[in-house]
Subunit: 274 residues, 2 copies
Amino acid sequence: MSGTTQPGAEPFTQRTPRVVAARRLTRRVERDRTGRFLAEGVNAVAAALERQLVRELFVTASAQQAHPELVAAAHERGVRVSPVTDRAAAALSETVTPQGIVAVCDLLDRSLDGLLPPGARLVAVLVDVADPGNAGTVIRVADAAGADAVILAGDSVDPHNGKCVRASAGSLFHLPIARVRDTAAALSACRDAGLRLLAAHGYAEAALDSLDLAEPVAWVFGNEAHGLPADVLREVDTPVRIPLYGGAESLNLATAAAVCLYAAAMAQRRSSGG
Amino acid sequence: MSGTTQPGAEPFTQRTPRVVAARRLTRRVERDRTGRFLAEGVNAVAAALERQLVRELFVTASAQQAHPELVAAAHERGVRVSPVTDRAAAALSETVTPQGIVAVCDLLDRSLDGLLPPGARLVAVLVDVADPGNAGTVIRVADAAGADAVILAGDSVDPHNGKCVRASAGSLFHLPIARVRDTAAALSACRDAGLRLLAAHGYAEAALDSLDLAEPVAWVFGNEAHGLPADVLREVDTPVRIPLYGGAESLNLATAAAVCLYAAAMAQRRSSGG
């Protein structure tokens, strides 16, 4: 039975072939080749189990003791649970303080087809976002704001990158995610779904506090250093700047996304009376 | 003349006593002892010069070439400009990619007395915030939202920490900052200034989208892992939760602060018709 842990079986070390193979999933090329990625930590593993995406769960003795409910949930779903040494867990981890629980999961991203459900009201589009921590934080904010989907467009980072998974704190598993090289196609899909396209842009004429945000919108965010390309700014309905009431010249990507996404989410709910 | 650079003078190395002394300012104990700290990078140095807080400017040959206006501004203000080698600049830097321009500045923080100007409408209070990057990002957001002051209360990190200075992107110099061990005194000062005390708290009954935020407020934010202590939650007027419309269990500190501070800043301006 693949779903049970052999009591007394020797834990896998960092040299056990299945651990070695899993470790390779920290590299994007290997994730793309195998269709798998690693999700580390309690939040992420719980959310991945919920979504039935886990293929194997590596767990240290102490993590097994600390989170029996996760190990039980894995067993229940017929997921192979593999005890590992602390050093093996550290080898699978990209953090300074490994949590001792790492899942091999199926990739999450899907195509644009059917990504946006009928009645979608809030979508986040990340264009050429380079930093995985930023991408993960924006995915977490989008999830919190009740977004219907997140699209990573153009040259954006792989959302299955370990730093992105970690920064998303489980949210990567909570809402549909698509990766699309063709940014124009991503924008078209949003427009076809009836969404108004707003782009966060520091030099825009329209200010966030002057807009009616109650209608369904897709918020488009650009690269941390370079912002949005000119052709994307031409393509959207309205470039929007966050008003800077004090001396700051800008906000960073994650806090800007938080302000924009929540401004829309709260305005939509105010206007619908709930 | 201390305000001029000797053309052709040998640049300081990482072993030059003034560089060695400046380098010690990366440690809190040394900052507290000397009343000085280091501000690195173009934004921070420009803002520090503006505020007349710079005592000495260390600059590499290439940074001097890239930013002649900063060096000129330093000369104009009679600030000692000291050419340094790339290695000396790296020794003074806490980043992976040093910018080659570092200022020794007077500490910024002031006491609570007179911190809050008459008519203050928006203040951020950080209680026991541990991560300097988070503190700096919240200071940047508070500045962007037009806050009148930021108070670092309780066990919060030193805002002059290099990571905090960097994350604030110059904002540390834009608005009054106080450090106060006694959190209750910080809250009293806000209340005495006529501010309503709101605390960001995940388990609060009142939701952000149900509140009238147009009146003058102090937003109180807690530690990244533990949130706000019970006595602080009892002391404030209203604990407030950010509504989580999707599957996320929480937001991180910086994005939560962005949502709260901007919700108040925009509501205040809407209600005043500007």
